[in-house]
């Protein structure tokens, strides 16, 4: 997603995944240049599932990116959809 010039301050509050796999899925929300980082609760991956887990977050930034990873041998993930719930809260930082 291209970066917007609007620059409102957003509250990133939930990430919802549609994914399968094996192992533990680690995720982070990171600000520009990784100045601020928020580790989210791990998701236990399953090879098949009918549920799309919500992972709560509490991260206020003008923009953010989501990082997902696995760390152990023979872990894998297949993601078909990521939904990030965002709500604008302020128009900008104080001048």
């Amino acid at each position: 997603m291209a970066k917007s010039a609007i620059g409102e301050i957003l509250h990133f509050n939930t990430v919802r995944y549609s994914m399968v796999g094996a192992g533990n899925f680690h995720s982070y929300l990171r600000s520009s240049d990784d100045i601020r980082n928020l580790g989210l609760v791990d998701v236990v991956l399953q090879s098949a599932t009918n549920r799309q887990p919500n992972v709560l977050a509490n991260f206020k930034e003008q923009c953010a990116q989501l990082e997902g990873s696995i760390t152990e041998i023979n872990e894998y993930f297949i993601i078909s959809k990521i939904v990030i719930f965002v709500k604008p809260t302020e128009s900008g930082y104080p001048q």
């Binding site: 997603m1 970066k3 609007i6 990116q65 990873s69 696995i70 760390t71 041998i73």
Partner: protein, 385 residues
């Protein structure tokens, strides 16, 4: 070869603070030496001497050690040290005055201890600290003079067998039984010397009495024995070890095991065992003869009567840590050493394979090891308003 060092607390019970004197009477009362004026003229530095010989073993009990040295042990070095203390008295008195001239009547002593071995076939490997010489005196133109002095020092005797590591005692190592047999008769000698100096030529006649006595004690006995058990194996193992490193096994000349009797070298850790076998195989030649040859193992460099030289085989995977090396002969297995293997010297080409969930490292010798892919991850683009 493993060397073990035991201190006196492992080997001996040391309870006495005064060691046994060989001739206690010499020390207890000292002795007097009567000399005449003419003797002084002829030998102005007349010496009254009392000597004690002390058995090193008298103050210690080595019969019930808490951690005994095996009878077959080789002793490389023995260090015996203790503190000795002496209260010394020296006196000089004029029995009859000289018919002419004067004499300085001096009571003095020299405290001169040294260590030596008695019972050992050779003494040249024994060293000791420098003798301590203490000196004091009183003097008198006539009558008597007395001097009293306390002195002491740390005595250390080192029995070093490492100068001649090969061969039998006394040229080489000392067995524990030999050590005990000789140690029980080894003695430590202390000398206390009283002197009287006359002024030669300035007097005639006269009779003098010169005496010296001492009370001797020793404390803080310490003993350290460095020893090892003879082993048929002398293994040169790189530290740390990695796959492909060369391990050389030789026999101790004193034991002289025929390494041709060894038919297998094993590397084991946990439940995993890797073997290198000296298997004989045979081929039948065109003329029907059977020729035995050694298996062309890539890990065997040399397997001779007195030397085995092998490479550490692959198969340890990514294990790092101690690995026990064992040799097998017809009479059993013997641990010949422990190597500390490290997980290095692997390489490979990175190849993307669909569905493969790990990386594979290829050892230079063909072994493969699966490892985790280094943190696969993704990041989304920036999300903003």
């Amino acid at each position: 070869m493993p060397i073990t060092t035991y201190s006196s607390t492992d080997l001996f019970s040391i309870s006495k603070t005064v060691v046994q004197l060989v001739n206690a009477a010499d020390i207890g009362s000292g002795f007097n030496l009567n000399i005449s004026g003419s003797d002084i003229k002829a030998n102005p530095a007349v010496i009254a001497e009392c000597i004690a010989q002390i058995r090193l073993s008298a103050g210690i009990d080595h019969t019930s050690p808490t951690n005994p040295i095996p009878a077959t042990a080789r002793i490389y070095k023995i260090t015996v040290s203790f503190q000795d203390n002496a209260l010394i008295n020296a006196s000089s008195s004029q029995l009859t005055p000289p018919s002419s001239g004067t004499i300085t009547n001096t009571a003095a002593y020299h405290f001169h201890p040294f260590a030596y071995g008695l019972g050992f076939a050779s003494n040249n490997w024994i060293t000791s600290s420098d003798p301590v010489v203490a000196y004091d005196h009183g003097d008198s133109a006539s009558g008597s003079a007395n001097a009293s002095f306390s002195a002491g020092h740390i005595v250390e005797a080192i029995y070093d067998f490492t100068l001649n590591p090969v061969g039998a005692f006394p040229l080489g190592y000392c067995s524990y039984s030999t050590f005990i047999a000789n140690f029980s008769t080894a003695r430590y000698r202390v000398d206390y010397l009283g002197t009287n100096a006359g002024v030669q030529g300035s007097f005639v006649g006269g009779t003098w009495s010169l005496g010296v006595s001492a009370i001797y004690t020793s404390t803080n006995w310490q003993m350290e024995v460095v020893w090892s058990l003879p082993s048929p194996w002398i293994a040169a193992i790189p530290s740390p070890t990695k796959v492909g490193d060369i391990i050389e096994i030789a026999t101790d000349p004193a034991v002289n095991i025929n390494l041709a009797d060894v038919d297998q070298i094993s590397f084991s850790y946990g439940t995993k065992v890797l073997d290198i076998n000296k298997d004989l195989t045979f081929v039948i030649t065109d003329d029907g003869a059977i020729v035995f040859t050694m298996e062309n193992s890539p890990w065997i460099i040399e397997w001779e009567l007195d030397t085995i030289k092998i490479k550490v085989p692959y198969g340890f995977g990514d294990y790092e840590g101690p690995v026990v090396i064992t040799a097998r002969t017809f009479s059993g297995s013997y641990i010949i050493g422990i190597m500390d293997i490290v997980f290095v010297d692997t390489s490979g080409i990175y190849k993307i394979t669909p569905g493969k969930l790990n990386d594979t490292l290829y050892n230079r010798d063909g072994e493969t090891t699966d490892v985790a892919i280094l943190k696969p991850y993704f990041r989304t683009g920036f999300i903003d308003g």
